[in-house]
């Protein structure tokens, strides 16, 4: 159940924008960004920001695009100003921390993450990132204590960038071209992210976001179909983790809708390349929720924790599954629900 408020708010947020043509621009920019067409996405978002220079969603997206383009100082600038103008938003702090960490500035990263958690005490991504930053700082301190060469310590952790600014969901983004004005306090966190991996019992949960007492998949358990769907999703994640490309691709339906409408062969080549490249991959499915649309189709929403030797992400994912020849297969795969 954890995911429903999150999606609902996200959709509400988008609905809010869709009232205007400008919001369409932002949505389009977002879509282009998710398709990896960063230059075009940036162009659109710049157009949008020219008209609404203070808009938080637009600036957030711009920061993400710059990050993906590896323009770290520019991205830092964007997120930094955004967090100054909207000090109550946790996501810009988190992403600033990720950027500082890529520069090896772990103390700065830590400060940002602590601010992020201070803003939203149940912010799971920031917790996970902060754990990694603490570990990195600890290892630096140990290196100094023990006169070790830090170059031989573990590879740099890649922290999770937040790609959706959920907490703006039910607040009006303040058009704050002038950063000096007192930013409006956000309406409390109806959109608190799902309490995920590492629940910290002592952390106060915002009242609106009471976590379900039981894991979501248990709640969905009664029907055998839901169980079977979930089992398939876990096997899919397992094949991916084993870098078993053949088995992985076999989880996709013949009529799988490729993300950008590209030909199946092209998509498969791209997947094969991406799965083969890292030495190690780990994919974990968390907080899965299965909704059976009818007897032979289901929607599975979950949190996907992906970790490879050089990337770590946490994202919301939705799989549209169909039963084909008695087997559940993936017809659609969407990031972010």
């Amino acid at each position: 159940m954890n995911h429903l408020p999150r999606f609902a708010v996200l959709l509400a947020a988008l609905a809010l924008f869709s009232a205007s043509a400008r919001a369409d621009e932002l949505q389009d920019a977002n879509k282009l960004f998710k398709q990896g067409q960063q230059a075009q996405a940036l162009e659109l978002v710049e157009q949008y920001l020219a008209k609404k220079p203070g808009d938080a969603q637009g600036r957030f997206l711009k920061g993400l695009i710059l990050t993906d383009q590896n323009k770290v100082p520019e991205a830092i600038e964007v997120f930094s100003k955004l967090s100054q103008d909207y000090p109550d938003l946790p996501e810009p702090y988190n992403n600033l921390a990720v950027l500082y960490a890529t520069q090896g500035q772990y103390e700065k990263a830590r400060r940002q993450l602590e601010l992020s958690i201070h803003t939203h005490p149940s912010y799971a991504t920031a917790y996970e990132n902060l754990g990694d930053v603490y570990a990195k700082l600890a290892s630096q301190a140990y290196d100094k204590a023990l006169q070790l060469d830090s170059s031989n310590s573990a590879a740099k952790n890649k922290l999770s960038l937040v790609r959706e600014m959920i907490s703006t969901g039910n607040r009006q983004p303040r058009a704050s071209a002038d950063a000096s004005a007192e930013p409006a306090r956000p309406v409390a966190v109806a959109a608190a992210p799902a309490p995920a991996l590492k629940p910290a019992p002592e952390v106060k949960q915002p009242a609106e976001a009471k976590p379900a007492a039981k894991p979501a998949e248990k709640a969905a358990a009664p029907t055998g179909d839901a169980e079977a769907v979930l089992k398939t999703v876990r096997e899919w994640a397992g094949a991916w983790s084993k870098k078993d490309v053949g088995s992985y691709l076999a989880f996709y339906a013949k009529d799988f809708k490729t993300p950008n409408g590209e030909p199946r062969a092209q998509w498969e080549a791209s997947r094969t390349q991406r799965i083969s490249a890292p030495k190690k991959i780990q994919v974990v499915v968390e907080a899965a929720k299965v909704t059976l649309s009818d007897a032979d189709s289901a929607v599975v929403a979950f949190k996907q924790l992906y970790r490879s030797d050089h990337l770590k992400t946490s994202s919301s994912k939705t799989l549209v599954m169909v039963r084909s020849d008695g087997r559940w297969v993936i017809r659609e795969e969407r990031v972010g629900g």
Binding site: G131, A145, L146
Partner: protein, 397 residues
């Protein structure tokens, strides 16, 4: 707090050293900012689960002393405890065990010293009598890794300060060159070597002491170059047992101490375990020993050679002379005198640490007789044999 619960493990780890989980009230009120005090505060905060405060304090300490490795270790632990459970001081993964052990030993030494400061109502037994112009005396405890500075307050030693020190890798009781031990005995600083003349390794300065002293030489001990010195630039302090025999202080501490050292004069008494006496017991020992010295002087003046020579030990030696040779010589000299007057001034008396009861006495001797007058600086080593104090070495000091 999750991290607080994990930190309890660190507190338990430290408790395993026998350090109490909370400081005494008197100590909590203590607000000095020495490294030891801050470490003790951090430790106290850890045991109370106040992780944020502990981390803030340790970072404060590191900002002042960035090369303080022990502080870095504790910082690492405090951060690590936030990322995952840790169960010991020095939870660094894959850390070299010897280095961790060294830092643990340092933590233990510093915290213990902070918890058990030198007793204010007691004095080190060794400081029986300081000369009037000896402004300070240094007493080192190699077991506790501590150096105590005492001021000469009208003849009575008054505690001034104490510092963490490192000593020989193989402990105390130096006997041989290269044995990596710190000597035990009564010494004094013989020189001051400024930073500019030293290798980086010796830090902000060095003060050689007179090991091997006369007694060491009689015992056949050798080696040389035992100094009090500072710390290289890459570290704030060194592990408790890490030197080749020298007594090593943090540079700031050495500089602090340096102001109070008088070359050729300031005693440096190195002990494995300092013995402490109450003011009354100390005064009684001092009086008893001073009477021995006065007895020797009076018997010399008496011209009764047997009474005079009865003050000398069978083990006596000086400049290659044994007791027989010394006795023959003294009988010969005294036989030619019609009168002798001996005056002793500027007396210092320091008890030698260790099993053997030995007192090192230094004084200015004004000798007058019918046919000779001279003034010499004299040093004697008195040893207790069969309950009686006897001179076992005598020479110019």
């Amino acid at each position: 707090m999750r991290s607080a619960r994990q930190l309890a493990c660190l507190a338990v780890a430290l408790s395993a050293f026998g350090i109490p989980s909370a400081l005494s009230p008197a100590k909590s009120a203590h607000t000095d900012l020495t490294a030891d005090a801050l470490l003790a505060t951090v430790y106290d905060e850890i045991s109370r689960g106040r992780v944020d405060a502990a981390l803030q304090n340790i970072e404060g300490l590191i900002s002042v002393k960035p090369n303080f490795r022990l502080a870095q270790l504790i910082k690492g632990d405090l951060l690590m405890a936030r990322a995952g459970p840790i169960d010991t001081l020095g939870a660094a993964p894959n850390a070299p065990a010897a280095r961790i052990d060294d830092l643990r030993a340092e933590a233990f030494a510093r915290l213990r010293a902070y918890r058990d400061p030198p007793p204010t109502d007691r004095v080190p037994r060794y400081l029986l009598q300081m000369r009037e112009d000896q402004k300070y005396a240094v007493v080192v405890d190699t077991h506790l890794s501590r150096l105590y500075l005492y001021q000469n307050d009208g003849g009575k030693p008054r505690f001034v300060a104490d510092y963490y020190v490192s000593s020989g890798k193989n402990g105390a009781l130096k006997a041989r060159e290269g044995d990596e031990r710190t000597p035990v005995g009564v010494y004094h600083v013989t020189a001051s070597l400024p930073r500019a003349k030293l290798a980086e390794f010796y830090g902000s300065g060095a003060f050689p002491i007179n090991y091997p002293n006369e007694w060491d030489q009689i015992q056949g001990r050798n080696g040389h170059g035992i100094w009090l010195h500072g710390t290289p630039p890459d570290t704030y302090s060194r592990p408790p047992r890490s030197s080749n025999g020298c007594v090593v202080l943090a540079n700031a501490d050495l500089n602090d101490l340096a102001h109070n050292l008088q070359i050729g004069l300031t005693p440096v008494i190195i002990s494995e375990d300092v013995e402490w006496l109450s003011a009354d017991d100390w005064a009684a020992e001092r009086k008893e020993f001073r009477e021995q010295l006065d007895g020797w002087r009076a018997d010399w003046e008496s011209l009764d050679a047997d009474r005079y020579l009865a003050h000398y030990s069978k083990r006596f030696s000086a400049n290659g002379q044994n007791l027989d040779a010394w006795s023959r010589y003294k009988r010969l000299v005294n036989g030619g005198k019609s009168w002798i007057k001996v005056k002793v001034d500027n007396v210092s008396m320091f008890r030698n640490p260790g099993k053997e009861e030995l007192v090192v006495v230094t004084f200015d001797q004004e000798y007058r007789s019918n046919n000779l007058t001279n003034t010499t600086k004299k040093r004697q080593y008195w040893i207790r044999e069969d309950g009686l104090w006897r001179i076992v070495y005598e020479g110019t000091g």
